[in-house]
């Protein structure tokens, strides 16, 4: 007779001393772990609930400006530095880690219209009415003693700097390309438009730039050519635009018709995605450095975060005291969002509302990653989605959203009735993407 009976040595399964950690032998046999789908689902639901519980996006508010914040600029070399310009011509330099203003400059008399830090981080440019100021870093002296390009003939509304060369672009009545060392533009672009609101250099194809014009168009230029490349005219005016830093053939423009549009530079005849959710004009947009998401500021006093290919926002930020948000920036470490608003404050938000700040222990990080994967896995289940999508909105915003929905529905119904009672195919079916583009001009 041969016999063997299970007989475990407890020493193999129990810790030796109290100072050791407990031994946890694993066996992944599926029959020892029944109901794996249901249990994972329950975990995912719990994780989603916890995410909503921990969603506290607001970090801090930087106050000090004496008028509405009109523009901001990220420093290209240090993460903790932020520049902001207000409507009374004041420029402030902030240290974000200490949450304090490092330096204040009275740069102009009126609005600071635009601001950009040079790619090397040693100096920055601001624009004012018809003047471009070149301020050296760290602005030790008064602006009068910094390098000044100008005064120039026209009024400026926007500014951007080339990624590598000593060249910058301004916009106003026309788009001008300037050499830093010269007092007259090296190139000027006009295309039958009286004014431009923003100009942006492409971060990858550095000679390309795009601008938003007041004839409801977005115009593309090549700096090496003397004429603009092409433009797309939409039903309403775009305020600003931003290039996707990773896939630099995509750009997103924020429009007066409450929507944002992502275009492929090569195919302008219809946008890739229409991003809807704002209930008032979108004023500013900025991409995350990963190029997967972008944030938009709106006149409806909210900030919304969109996935680059998501039609609706994944997140909305608002506070009781935040007024119309004028400018928005996504920090270069992909963790924070900075918003400048009408009521003189700059606010620092977390890009991921439920993220824990600070150092995480390995076990904590592992658990967070596991929960994140579970949430993604079960995101389409109705219960999970309901919890994940739930947001508290201010009453006015909530009602406006509802009203807009009703209006849209009525419009759609009317169009359907018109189609029903007219000759077949005389009223074309237009998708949401096609509706907003008037024409493309080359």
């Amino acid at each position: 007779m041969k016999v063997k009976v299970l007989s475990r040595n407890p020493d193999d399964y129990v810790r030796e001393t109290k100072l050791d950690i407990q031994r946890v032998p694993r066996n992944y046999d599926p029959t020892l772990h029944p109901f794996e789908v249901s249990r994972e689902y329950t975990r995912a639901l719990n994780a989603t609930k916890l995410e909503r519980l921990f969603a506290k996006p607001f970090v801090t508010s930087l106050d000090g400006h004496r008028d509405g914040v009109n523009c901001m600029a990220k420093h290209t070399k240090t993460l903790s530095t932020l520049l902001s310009g207000s409507c009374d011509g004041e420029v402030k330099v902030w240290n974000l880690t200490k949450r304090e203003c490092v330096r204040t400059l009275q740069a102009h008399e009126g609005f600071v219209r635009g601001m950009v830090v040079r790619f090397c981080g040693s100096s920055f440019f601001t624009i004012f009415w018809d003047l471009v100021l070149w301020l050296l870093w760290p602005a030790q002296h008064d602006p009068g003693q910094g390098g000044i390009t100008g005064p120039l003939e026209s009024v400026f509304t926007g500014l951007d700097h080339h990624q590598k060369d000593a060249v910058f672009a301004t916009c106003g009545q026309q788009v001008d390309i300037w050499d830093e060392q010269r007092t007259s533009p090296i190139r000027s672009f006009t295309w039958g438009v009286d004014s431009f609101s923003a100009v942006r250099f492409n971060p990858v194809e550095t000679e390309l730039l795009a601008s938003c014009a007041s004839d409801r168009s977005v115009v593309l230029y090549d700096m090496r050519e003397s004429t603009p490349l092409k433009k797309v005219i939409m039903t309403m005016r775009s305020n600003t635009l931003c290039w996707n830093p990773m896939e630099a053939y995509y750009f997103t423009c924020c429009n007066e018709d409450y929507n944002l549009y992502t275009y492929d530079m090569r195919f302008l005849d219809k946008p890739i995605t229409v991003h809807m959710d704002h209930v008032s004009a979108a004023l500013d947009v900025d991409y995350s450095p990963t190029g997967k998401e972008f944030v938009s500021a709106s006149f409806d006093k909210t900030i919304r975060i969109f996935a680059k290919d998501g039609g609706h926002s994944r997140e909305v930020y608002h506070t009781k005291r935040m007024q119309h948000v004028i400018c928005i920036k996504w920090s270069l470490d992909n963790k924070y969002i900075l918003s400048g608003s009408d009521e003189m404050n700059i606010r620092l938000w977390k890009a991921n509302a439920a993220e824990k700040l600070g150092v995480m222990s390995p076990r904590e990080r592992e658990a967070a990653n596991y929960n994140q994967t579970l949430k993604e896995k079960f995101q389409h289940h109705p219960q999970v989605r309901r919890v994940a999508r739930h947001r508290h909105l201010p009453k006015s915003l909530y009602h406006q959203t509802k009203e807009l929905r009703v209006m849209k529905e009525a419009r759609r119904r009317k169009e359907m009735n018109v189609r029903k009672h007219s000759k077949p195919e005389s009223v074309p079916l237009l998708t949401e993407k096609e509706k907003h583009v008037v024409t493309v001009v080359k």
Partner: protein, 591 residues
């Protein structure tokens, strides 16, 4: 790897030349894909090669690092990752690979391939870990011409180590018997409930008596709740819950005349079957009754749970077994299993097999996924109690004899694996989890038998851990409560939650189409893209359109042809089965 070792001619010849020499006709859809693969032998088909190349791109990079030559010039005799046995891989397989079709969106394809890659990696790692698990299962083998069922418990106890020998013991409790038995889910604690009111819980390995009470009422059944801190006792009138020190925690008057109980550990549900034919579910984490169903089938004294999907099986006096979930007032399924009353039911832990015994002295094995009988055994005295162990041993009690059978569903069994006679008729029987022990409660007390090969040798430390400390138990309890599965998730197929809900989607889609006035997901007409250098002439344009149309048509034809081939094959198989087997007159009514 050096080229001389390989025998594949493709390596020696330049690729293009090799293809010219061995040109094969393209794979045809009317051919059986398996057949084609078999013909090809080890060489992967051309399309398969391309796919493999795509999928293995990342792996190739890793492999090239492995193939680096060692300084000594010797090549690695065992190149590549260590092989994993196929059966281990099968053990951890969750689902087959999804078929990708040309019409799928590229993003969806990408997501699917990524997730499949990760699950494949997880499967491999789990299989590797399975190879190095520390403990092996027990076994019992007789010498030549020696039946294992003739080996007595004393012989086994003599020939095993002292610790194991102490696991065979008997408690003589003739005063308050017969006894019902239950082991806690870690297998460390034993709960005894005597018919005449004696309730005792014992740490049976150390023989330490945790508590002992007499409830002064008849006891119908006892059951541990989720941990060893609480247990439920079905008494004459109502259901009581005691803690491990014997203090009465709750008296639940709503549950009266309870005869049998089951505890669903992942749902925290205590299921009771009563003499008044009520099946009730009690959520023990919040103390609420989840559902109460009148089964209208008389006295319910045969009950078991399916540990795979938490469905409760009830046996009835008319020979039927019914399946119940708390979400439905009607039985999910009714099976006529025996010609007499059903005496006992047991379901194995994979949820595939059900074993029943009835008054007709038969013991039957069913496949409960397809509700089909597999095996039928005749036991001269009939089995009053059945119990299945973690590794699939079946114990059946006939009168005062306990018999243990092995492999009842895969092979026809003629002899029991083990047999033992206890003093009086068996009343309750339970295999101890993670131990080679069978606890038998009978009229004269309790006997613990050694059954080698019954228990799962390797437990999971994060699940039921027999060696857990008090702190670990507390942590486990919190985690288990957090991931308590809601009772409305109990279904016949527990993986249903992870599948795509086509029905709801279709309904929603219809609503959407109605609201929009057009179908947003409808296949769009193909419009050829404009190409430069004169490649968009009208003729070229038409040609491209026709090409796409042909491809679509081809796909459709391929699909229908494949379907035809499979139906034809099925028909043939059916025919063969019919021809080979005996035909009865009633077969013509079969579909």
């Amino acid at each position: 790897m050096s080229t001389t070792e390989t025998t594949d001619p493709a390596v020696l010849l330049p690729e293009g030349l090799w293809h010219k020499l061995h040109r094969k006709p393209a794979a045809r859809y009317w051919k059986d894909p398996q057949e084609v693969a078999r013909k090809d032998g080890n060489n992967v088909g051309k399309t398969g090669q391309q796919q493999a190349q795509k999928a293995n791109k990342r792996r190739l990079v890793e492999d090239s690092e492995d193939e680096e030559q060692v300084l000594s010039g010797k090549s690695d005799p065992f190149p590549g990752p260590a092989p994993i046995p196929e059966d281990r891989l099968q053990k951890f397989k969750r689902k087959d690979k999804t078929k990708t079709s040309r019409s799928q969106h590229y993003k969806l394809k990408d997501i699917i391939t990524r997730s499949e890659e990760t699950s494949e990696m997880a499967q491999k790692q789990a299989a590797r870990l399975d190879l190095v698990l520390p403990e092996d299962a027990g076994f019992l083998e007789g010498d030549e011409d020696e039946d294992t069922c003739t080996i007595s418990q004393e012989d086994i106890a003599d020939s095993v180590d002292i610790t194991s020998a102490t696991k065979h013991f008997s408690l003589k409790l003739s005063q308050f018997g017969p006894y019902r038995v239950d082991y806690s889910n870690t297998g460390r604690q034993l709960l005894l409930g005597g018919r005449r009111g004696h309730v005792a819980c014992i740490d049976w390995q150390t023989k330490h008596l945790m508590c002992e009470i007499n409830v002064m009422e008849s006891v119908n059944d006892v059951k541990w709740l989720h941990s060893e801190a609480m247990y439920a006792v079905a008494q004459k009138k109502c259901l009581y819950i005691y803690d491990s020190k014997g203090i009465e925690l709750h008296c639940i008057r709503k549950f009266n005349d309870v005869l049998r109980m089951q505890f669903l550990p992942f749902h925290f549900l205590l299921v009771t079957a009563s003499a008044t034919s009520f099946l009730q579910y009690l959520d023990v984490s919040v103390g609420k009754e989840v559902s109460a169903t009148c089964t209208k089938t008389g006295r319910l004294d045969v009950m078991c749970q399916n540990p795979h999907n938490a469905i409760v099986h009830l046996g009835h006096s008319n020979g039927t077994v019914t399946l119940w979930s708390p979400n439905q007032k009607e039985a999910l399924a009714k099976m006529l299993c025996h010609q007499g009353a059903v005496r006992s039911v047991a379901v194995d832990k994979t949820g595939m097999y059900m074993v029943t015994s009835g008054m007709d002295k038969k013991m039957k094995v069913y496949d409960i996924r397809s509700f089909k009988p597999l095996k039928s055994y005749f036991l001269p005295a009939g089995a009053s109690c059945l119990s299945l162990s973690q590794r699939g041993l079946l114990s059946a009690a006939t009168g005062d004899i306990v018999q243990v059978y092995r492999d009842v569903w895969s092979t026809p069994v003629t002899k029991p694996y083990m047999a033992h006679r206890v003093q009086k008729a068996v009343w309750g029987m339970h295999f101890c989890p993670f131990e080679d022990v069978l606890g038998v409660g009978h009229g004269d007390g309790f006997t613990s038998l050694l059954v080698p090969g019954a228990g799962e040798p390797n437990f999971d430390g994060l699940g039921a851990n027999p060696y857990r400390s008090a702190k670990q138990r507390q942590e486990w309890e919190v985690k288990a409560l957090l991931e308590k599965i809601q009772p409305d998730l109990i279904t016949l197929d527990p993986t249903e939650l992870g599948r795509v809900d086509h029905a709801t989607f279709e309904m929603k889609h219809q609503d959407r189409v109605q609201a929009l006035g057009f179908d947003p997901l409808a296949k769009q007409k193909f419009v050829p893209r404009y190409k430069k250098k004169g490649r968009s002439s009208a003729g070229n344009h038409e040609k491209r359109k026709r090409k796409v149309a042909h491809e679509d048509l081809r796909e459709d034809i391929q699909k229908t042809a494949e379907a035809n081939v499979t139906t034809e094959r099925e028909r043939k198989e059916k025919k063969e089965v019919l021809l080979s087997g005996k035909r009865s007159a009633l077969d013509r009514f079969k579909k």
